[in-house]
């Protein structure tokens, strides 16, 4: 199982739709300061069901919606789609690929989809957890947060192991 692609539209600095196709192995992402690299990582965290705005560096969740630039008007919606390869059958779903999508509108309405069918947040998080991608697997290390584990108390570190158990 691996992350096959990420598509983002109206999400942070991705005003128009962009797609990243990933392969197994090592992919390296480079670019100048402020170009949008960490926004890719935020987009995956968000599509996986993240509920805390600070986890994607915002004050409110609407901060993830493209808010305009010198030349472009703000977007009305943010959407991210992550495609997971499931040929190994790790996720208990009979498809060889699983597309997880999330949308957020300016008015606060949000929606989740699995393979384009509307679902609830809990469906997304349960599916991911079966695949070893729960909230505490820490498979996404945000910028500047690598040593957060050292700052946490011993009882908080326990959650890392419990999630993996």
């Amino acid at each position: 199982m691996f992350l096959k692609s990420v598509k983002a539209r109206g999400f942070k600095s991705f005003a128009r739709s962009v797609e990243f196709a990933f392969e197994p192995g090592i992919t390296v992402v480079v670019g100048p300061n402020g170009s949008g690299k960490s926004n890719i990582s935020d987009s995956v965290t968000w599509a996986m069901g993240e509920q805390s705005p600070t986890a994607v560096r915002g004050n409110s969740m609407q901060d993830v919606i493209f808010s305009g630039s010198d030349k472009l008007a703000p977007a009305g919606m943010a959407e991210v789609e992550i495609l997971l390869d499931n040929s190994s059958g790790a996720m208990p779903i009979e498809f060889s690929e699983v597309l997880i999508s999330r949308r957020l509108y300016r008015d606060g309405d949000g929606a989740y989809f699995i393979n384009k069918s509307p679902c609830r947040l809990i469906d997304v998080t349960e599916l991911l957890s079966d695949a070893g991608l729960g909230r505490n697997t820490h498979s996404i290390i945000s910028q500047g947060k690598v040593d957060a584990i050292l700052e946490s108390k011993p009882s908080e570190r326990r959650a890392y192991i419990e999630e993996a158990a």
Binding site: F2, K12, F22, I26, V29, Y160, A164
Partner: protein, 191 residues
Amino acid sequence: IENSFAATFAAVRDHFADVIATLFPGGEGRLTLTREEPPEVDEDGEILDEGEDSEPVAAAESPRVERRGIEISVKPPRKAVRSLSLLSGGERSLVAIAFLFAIFLARPAPFYILDEVEAALDDVNIDRLLAMLKRYQTRTQFIIITHQKRTMEVADTLYGVTMGPDGTSKVLSRKMKKDAQQEMADEDDLE
């Protein structure tokens, strides 16, 4: 639930010792379960007993394992074991990376996204981290965001992102390994 916690903890603990030995050649790392009672705290609420004096408890021994926390102690080569807060910036990054790799080795996730995790590392330690990524790249997928040239060199696929004249992010290019070497020389244009 308890058995699976105890088994996972034991696996993570063993991997942690191995990974620390790889990242800190000559050093030692240990994960232990804290004692049962809540830790003493000082007037700021800081835990007083983080460190050496909590006696390691074999996970399987105690039925009350479920409320125990996890303590991390590391002895860098030639140095004494000290509180984690006294470690250097680079040493702290390495210890945190070792903990995360220990969990990965016990229970791999399908992919990992690492955003400038090597920013505090010197070249020798960047190379040690990269060697580890290469060793495990067949077991999981790594997506690494970086400014370090050394890290770019281990890429199978290299993506460039830039800010366009309209103030939005553009995906510049995507190179497979065989062209990546040539493009590396032009990387400065991206930066």
